[in-house]
Each structure stands twice: as C-alpha cells, then as structure tokens.
Subunit: 344 residues, 4 copies
C-alpha cells in the first residue's frame, strides 16, 4: 500500500510503497482509510522540531486523524464489525493504570499516539486496537467524520463546565479554537468573543458563530472584554493559543468565580500574577488535554449527527491523498482551516 | 388602584379599587406593573380547588407573574434603582434557614408566595422585597420579561444536568413543558421528543423545536422512544405532566444511567416498579421545584437577551389588564399557551 | 478441583470434583482462590427463588465474592502478573456499549455475573477476564480483601454525594447497610442513624459507628429523625432494606434539598406520595446498583489499606471452604454478618 | 468600651476607651465579644505592610475573628435572637451582584472586611449585619467557636473536591495549613503529607493527623511524594504557603488528573511550566479564597460540634483580652498556632 513515511530523522517525509498491516491479532482491527487530515502535530513532525526529534523513532508512518471502513477484525473484537464506518481516537491508553481505572484515560501515562509512537494513518490501511475506534452514525459526512479527533479537543474544553447562558471568550483561533467557537454556540453560550493575530482566522471564527472578534495587537482586548460583559468579565475563557500573553489575559478577562480552560501549549515558562489574577478572583483553572474517552466522542457525535453543530466551514480544503505534501505546505503557511485528504 | 381580588372563599375574583401599597419599608420596593400573566396556580385559586381553600386567606390580591418599573424604594435598597426594569420571582424565601444558607433557597420551608400568601401582582402596583427582583437587560421585550417566573421552572429542570448532545424527552406540554422543549434545544440537545394529550400543544411543541411528538393515547410511547434512541432510551426525561402513567413511563423510556426530572405534580399517590425501572437501571431522579435563586434567572436571562432562546410562540394571547377574566377563561378551556396582560 | 455446583434446577448445591479451568485465553487470568464469602444472591440461588429459576442455567459453579493469587495469565494480559494478590469484581461488563463508553459500566446491559451467568468462585480456582480484577495493596488482610465486592456497594451508595459534615440515616442493616454505616463514618458524616428490625444487626451497626439506632416497629422513626436533626431532616438517607415502608420513610426523613439513595431491592411495586414527599422537597434520588468501575474500588481500597475504614467487626464468622454449607445455613437464619471461607 | 485601634498610619495599635456601637439599624446586630483571635492579616495591619497602607483608613478598630453573644438586634432581624451564641464571618458581601446571586458570595467584588474596611472585633462589642453571623450549636467550646473564620478557609479548600480515600499533600503549615491537615483526616483522606520550613509547625501537623512530614530544605519533597504514592503523585495538593517554589512543587507532586488548590498568597509573580506540569497532566487548579457562604460554615460546624474534627491542639495560647499585644508578638515570632483572647 502507499503511505507517507518519516524515513529518517530530519524534515520531510516520503510517499512509499509499504507492506499491508499484518492480520489483526486479538482485539485488533484493520481499517481502510477513507479520509485523513493534518494536525499541528503532523506539521511539527514534518518540520522535525525539537519535540519530534526526541519522541519519534523513524521509520514511522505518519498521521493520526482518519475515518474509514473496517475490513478485518481479530479474535475477540466486539466493538466493531467488518463494514463499520469508524473514526480513530489517536490516543491509545493502557486501560489498567490508576487514571484509566478512574475514567481519566485522557491522562494515562502509558498513552501511545498513532503516527507518533506507532505507525499511523497517512496510508491506505491502518491497524488499530478496537478500543480506539468510534463507530459513526450514518448521518455524518466523511469529511466531518474525519476531523473528530481535533474537534474533540474543543468539545472536551468547552464542555468541561457550564456553557448555556454563559458569555465566553476563545483566545486563539487555530482549528481547535475555531471549533471551540462553534461548540460553544451549539451548547447555548449567550455571547462568544474570539481573538487571534490572523484576520483570516477571525473571519472564520465569525462565520462559525463568534459574536465579536478582537486582534491582540490592534485592539485592547481587556477593554473589549469589559465592554462585552458589563464590566464583569467572561464566565469562561478558553485559551487555545499557548501564547504566554494570552494565558495571562485569560486570567484577567475571566470574571470572579469564572473558569479558565488552558489547552494551548506554551513553548516556554509563563509567569503569572497568581495572587491578584487567580486566587483573589477564585478562578477555576482546568488544564485540558485530549478527549474524555469516550464521553467527549458521544457528545460530539450527537451534535454532529443531529446537525446542531455545524463545523463544515472549518474545512477549507479537500485534496486527494496523493496531494498530502501540498496540504502540509498550506498548513505551514497558515492559509487554511482543516485540510482533509480523500482516498484516491 | 385597580386590582383583582379574591374577596371571599369560593370561585371567582373581583376587579376592585384598592389602596396603593404602603410606602416601602427597609429593603422593600414598589413596582408599577407593566405586564402580568396567568399561571396554572392562579387558575386553581380562581376555581378555588382544595389546595386554595386551605392555603389562601381572602381578601387577597391575586397574581405572581409580572414585570414592571421600580417607582419607589425603601431604606437600604441596593439591588435596584427607581426606574429599573424588573421581573418578580414569586417565591420569597427567609434567607436564613439551613436551605437558604446552603444555596437551596428554592426549598426554603418558610417560603411566601406572591398572590397566594401576600398580596399579588394582578394590580397596577405591587410591593415586594428587593431580593425577589431580577433586573432585566434592556434587550428583552416586555412580554418575554413577564413570563420568566414559569420559564425559569423549565430552565431549572432542563439545566439540572447535561443537555448538550443529549437525546431528551418532555412528557407533558403545558406551558412549562413547551418551555422545556425550547430550553433543551437552545442548550444543544441533539433530539427532543415531546408528548401530550392535546394536539394543539404538540403543534406548539414542534414549533418550539421538538424533533418528534407522540400522543400517549394514540401512539405507543415506549416503542417510539426505542426507535428514536437506537433502543437505548433517552439520556434525560423531563416529566412535566404529573400524570401517574407518565411518571412511570419516564422511568421506562430513560436509558440506563440516565436522569429523570420530576416536575409535574401528581394529584394522587403513584406506584412504581422501583426495582426494575429505577434501581437496576441506576437512574438519577431529580425532583425539581421552583427556580434556583438566582442561578436559573441568570442563565435564562442571558439566553433570552441574546436571542438564543426564542419562546415568543408560547405567548399565544396578549390582552389588556381589564380583560384578565377573559384570559382566565382561555386558561380554563386550555386553548392557549401563555396569556399576557399589558397595563392599560 | 473441588467446587460447589448447582447441578440442577432446585434448592441446594453439591461439593463436586470438577476439571480445572481451561488455560487462560487472550486477556484471561486464572486465580487460586484464597478466600470467598457469601452474598444474599448466593442464598437466593441456594434456595432457588423465582429470580434464580429464570436467570441461572445449571450446571453452574456458584459464588462471586473472592480474593486470591494469580497463577496463570493469557496473552496480552497487562493488568496483573502471576503472583498478584487480587480481588474479583463480580460484574463483567461489555466494554463497548454506550454506558461502558460513558464511564457507567455499572449499568452495562450486557453485564455477566460471576457465579450466576458464568462459573463462579466457590471453587479452588476461577478463571476471569483481567479487567474484572483489582490488585490489592499488601496491607489488606485476606478476609477484608475478600469482601470488597459487597463493601463496594456501600461505598458507591455513600460516596455518590457529599458525606463529610452531613447527618445521615441508613435504613436496613444487612451487611451492606452496616458497611454503609462504617463508610459514612470514615468519610466524616457528623451523625449516623441506623434502623433495622433485628437487634443483632442494630448492635453491629452501633459497633461500626452508628450514633443512634431505631427499630421500625418499636420506635417512631420519623419522630426520632426529627429529634436528631433539629426538626430539619437528614442530609442523606441510604435505603438498604428494600422494604416499601422504609422507602417511603426515606423520602420523609430526608430534609428539603437532601439526597436519598435507593439500593435495597423491593420485591413488589411501591406507592409514593411524589408530590409532598419528593417534588415539593426538591429531593435528589439516586438509584444505585453495583460499584463504579473502578472509582469505587480505588476509594474503598485506599480507605481499607490505610486503616481509616474498619469493617472487621462485620465479619462474624470465618470457616474452612469445606464448611460452606454451614455458612449458607447461618445466612439463612440471619445469625451472622459476613461469613468468610478460607481455602483448606 | 475598650478596643484596640489603629489610630494612625504606621505600625502598632492602641488600647483605647471608645464609644459603644450605635444602636443597631435595620438588619444589624450588636454582639458582646466573648473571644477573639489573631489572623495573619491582623499582623500585617499591626506591622503596617504595603497592603495595609493602601487598604486601611485609620482610625479603625482592628480584628475580624470573634465569637460572642447577641445583645441587641435591629428591626427586621430574623437570623439571630438576643442571647444567640454566634460567630462572625469577616467578609460582608453585597448580596446582589452577579456573584452573590450565583451563590459565589466569597468572590463578591464589593466585599467589606471586618477590622479592615469597617470597625472590627478587637473590642468589647461589635456591630455587624445579621447575614454575617453564624449561630453556633451548643456543643462547641468558645475557643473553637472563635476560630471558625480561618478554619473555614481550610474547610473550603479541602472540601472543594473529593477527599475520602485520597492521598493528599498540604504545603505550608501555618494555622490554615494545619487546619487543612485535620480537615482532610476528618473527611477520610487515606494519607496526608505535610511540609513546612518550621519544625514546630511540622510537629503540630503530625499531632493533627499528618501521616508524614517533609522539610523543603532538608528533604527532597518530590522524591518523598513519589515514595508515598507508588510513584503516581497525590490525588490532591493544598498549597497554603504562597511560596513560589511550593506552588511549582504543588503542580509537580500532584498526579495526572489530580487537583491542586491554591490558597497561599504569593507576594510576587510566579513562573510555571504550564505545558509539562499542568496541561499534559490534565490538572484541575482551584484558586480558593475565603469561605463558601455558608456551605463551608455548615460543614465545618457539623464537624466541630460532632467532635469528628478535633482542632484543639492548634490553639496553642489562650490569653485575656488585655494581653492582645503579647499575642501579637507571639504571632510575629511565629511561636504559636492560634492565639485566642477571652473577654476579661
């Protein structure tokens, strides 16, 4: 089969002919990939940043976002059938550590990531454990089915506390930030404010339901926040950028007794005024990673299948699998929302 | 001023000239009523049912749903100003019992109800404690501002647990049931099923966002429920009818691990299969009364003011204050949603 | 190996020589049973009541409460090692239904019960799936390790809401009720009231930490409840008897805004005053079955291993495995707490 | 009456004869102070630090921790009676802002603090609003009744999430930290680790129930934490010191998916490794200030009155009111737990 493989330490990847996955063992499933998409992590591996150099051991088939059809199942598989239309959860958890036993699989310390620690889905077929698959309802279009792994990050972040009737802010409108805007709207947020340095992304945020947008360099975000909340601050702030300044801002524009969700990953240490901006305000800070397995998927999938959550405009490009490098380049230039590749 | 007064034990009420309320004492506020509406409780008092005969001590000005403008305030009032546009919470709580101290004022045992235990708002002016008033944002039309007390019941019921991405059923589509349909939709429910014996009301439920409706006599509600939930049952069931059969049905159509909200008041004892229908299914049963003071109001008001929650179609009649008896008659015949009376 | 087998439909069981379990398949584990204990369910099967006659298909090795040592593991087993000291969770869940995916495995509709639907642990060896095992910390004595399955019911019930600083009542002091008394005390309940028809059990409840006890026939339970709570009612009531009168009482002695946990299984329908006793009081009713998998086990095991929770007095009899019929007879006569059998 | 008054900007205070409080107005209450105690804030005002210089406007009677007897009440007072034995909550909230209406009075932006913004309780009598008083049950000794305001901080922090069966750490064993140790034990924590730079305080922590203690300079706190938690980390960490190093440590010794409570106030900005220590671990960070009004008081009072929570050893000194300056000096030297002053 064809697959994009990181063949050696360093930037880039190669489209190669590689052997089909071995037949599925107990609990394993082979899926024919119908669509795949690119995550920021894939771009990091493509560019071979510091994190990739430490974590990824070539040769490795890349990619972790996909949807497809089950074509064979190993012994003892009951979660899916041959023919099931499935989407993959990229984080494979151990199932038996304390966190897994407590229903906190999303922070399992033994997590393996598809396309990072094991061979991924930038390929015609992929072999995964049954427990990592979500069976889609028939109503979800392939391209939406494909992007549920990253959409799930936004659902997890937004749904970790009250949303209906709340005024919320989303700082950082990369794909997950834009998703957060849409999710907040579908769950009844009464006002959504979105910020980003890119006008392209702010426009996308408006299209997905942001009531107001702000540009951290040309606007006074704190003043705008006050104006939109009668001087009280937002009930919830979703920090999706990872920028230290935005993290500090998140604390400041959140109202006393509100919640701040930290999901954007800062690349350096961040200094905070913990006394004034956090403790005296009685904030609740939720540090959110991955998706709740599988509460997040259930909520997300219901919202998608019912049409309550419309994230179609976030998919700005659809390309054939053979043009994955072109998509990677779009990602690098930031001139896109999600880029989805269909099997060709 | 003019006021509708229950002058003596027995059916009916009289439109009388009565003295204006006394000037407000410490913490009290006088409101000029701009609109008022009828609740089922008012109809009970009008008809003088068993409960009324025990609870209401004539002479008593009736009515508890209203919106209006503050025209005078007593010493120490800080919650509102002269000119504030307010809506009244009908339940006046003691503030200092265990429940009030724990944030459960809605079950304060010393609660006094406007128009039941003290003189009400079917009048040109009404005097109330400042703590029972909600200050409206400017964006809410008078007739919507008026019906927040009963709308709040639905918001309380629906928001007492997860809604976004959930499949829910509403049993009983009187005004509060219809409100519950709308609230569930605005908070992201992925599917809403509504039942009632009246086709008029089912049509209203559809208009407010019900995805499917069922008639308990001509439809097999349990079979319909299975069909709408892949045989699993609803994530949440809101019982708004008080009918014993519906209460039993609520338990049966709820999925294992789901939640059932009981809000409709049965007029007799109800026998249940607690083993099969409740314990083995691990249900969570929430018995809900009144509104959370004032979390419910905050959520509701944000949803209304932002336009996320549209309940305008529930207001089927608007009449001048002088025609309140006609509205009472509409209520008696069940040929209406909410009936709102404007000051004349 | 020796095993107690229900050989045919009808009362009783036989101690037989049966083949050892087959070698473990993928994900399976064989455990050498070090201790086992009798549950009320075992007694029902022993006596062959209506439920047993429908559910149990002889021949069947009985028993579901056990602790032991892992002696062999199948392929892919990572949760335990040979030599691990484990206790079995009796409910084997499917892992992939909606409830399992949402972290509500305790209400999985495909649950298989050890000793009921599959061969059980009243035997020298038992084969189970790795996911049903809990690895014990070294500090827990064998007899305590053995009774965690039923103790977990009490932990689940008590810990489903606030306990610290709460005044609570436990209605029904069979083993799980007595456990609930101890668990409530260890979690900081400020007052524990226990009721039962048996003086033997009330004495045991006092020993485990009940502050007061009441006898439903000779005492006025409602009056006693008022007296112990300044007339307010209990913050939480744990109904462990299944008696219809006690279920109604649970609603009445719970305070407005309090929670009632229903765990005792009534054998007939129960009629309730839902209006007065439940809705107007704003009760939260939790219907609780089994154990949260595995949050309950983690909490329980920590409490046991740390010595914070002392339930040793509940184990009133320890017998060799060969005397299991004598233990069954003790259970039948109700002259015991938990009866534990050690391998001989 | 006699009162300790900050007469002018600068260190120190004077014991003066001052007029009795004015007769109570609507909703007000005059209390005869039976006991009072010193908080760290009082010491700051005594020493006149930067915060005091900005916030406190002399002349001001100091002090905010007290218990006493109600001797007169203003019109409309229903929460207490003449003769009620009460303790004061030091934070007076507005009652009508968004936070107050949502049950988050502890972060009301209009809060006035007794002895800081209004005349305090280092006096023979003090006048307060009825809503700031807690009526004590008869079983609580005066000296314990007196220290509930600071004890409540610990109860609020510890009870903001699960405790029973959890392994917890308390960083910083000033009075509130030591209280946290005791509260965690009374609520069923399975293991309590306490750290402080003072051996005196660590000894006190052990006396109150800490299972292990560590000294941040002579011990390797992270290694000790690993050893006490099987390498997993603590379920909950209560940061009570405000030291930047301890705040960072709190994040590191907390397990993946655990909770960190920040209550100690750092005097400078703190830099954190948000990516590694917080987000990837999926931590929940609760910034906690004051007490939940009045859920915290209810829980605390029940624990105290029932004897489940024993904090007597934290009261290391009892002095007559006239020796308050000696107590202030003990506080300054850190050679004490709580110092309580009895009326003389």
């Amino acid at each position: 089969m064809r697959a994009y493989v990181k063949t050696a330490a360093g930037p880039g990847e190669q489209l190669l002919k590689v052997p089909l996955p071995e037949p599925p063992d107990a609990g394993e499933v082979v899926v024919k990939v119908k669509a795949t998409s690119i995550c920021g992590t894939d771009l990091h591996i493509h560019l071979w940043d510091g994190w990739s150099a430490i974590r990824v051991k070539p040769p490795r088939i890349m990619g972790h976002e996909f949807t497809g059809e089950v074509i064979s199942i190993g012994p003892g598989v009951s979660a899916v059938k041959v023919g099931s239309c499935v989407t993959g959860e990229s984080h494979w958890t151990c199932g038996y550590c304390l966190q897994c036993r407590l229903g906190q699989q999303h922070v399992c310390a033994q997590t393996k990531i598809l396309g990072v620690d094991v061979d991924g889905c930038f390929a015609e077929f992929v072999k995964v454990p049954q427990g990592s698959l979500w069976v889609n309802l028939p109503d979800v279009p392939t391209k939406l089915a494909c992007i549920q792994d990253p959409l799930g990050n936004a659902v997890h972040a937004v749904m970790s506390g009250p949303v209906a009737g709340c005024r919320v802010a989303v700082l950082g409108c990369g794909p997950i930030g834009i998703f957060a805007v849409a999710v907040a709207r579908s769950a009844g947020a009464s006002h959504v404010f979105a910020t980003d340095l890119s006008s392209y992304r702010l426009k996308l945020a408006s299209e997905l339901g942001a009531d107001e947008t702000g540009h951290p360099q040309s606007d006074d975000i704190e003043r705008l926040s006050q104006a939109q909340t009668n001087g009280i601050g937002f009930d919830a702030v979703f920090e999706m950028s990872g920028a230290p300044a935005a993290i500090r801002q998140a604390m400041r524009i959140c109202r006393r007794g509100g919640r701040v969700v930290l999901m954007g990953i800062p690349s350096s240490r961040v200094d905070l005024d913990i006394a004034e901006d956090m403790i005296f305000k009685g904030l609740e800070i939720q540090c959110v990673v991955g998706r709740r397995l599988y509460q997040t998927w259930q909520t997300m999938h219901e919202l998608l299948a019912s049409g309550r959550l419309n994230v179609l405009p976030t998919i700005t490009h659809e390309l054939p699998f053979s043009e994955l490098p072109e998509g990677m380049e779009l990602m690098r230039r930031g001139e896109c929302g999600k880029v989805v590749f269909h099997a060709d």
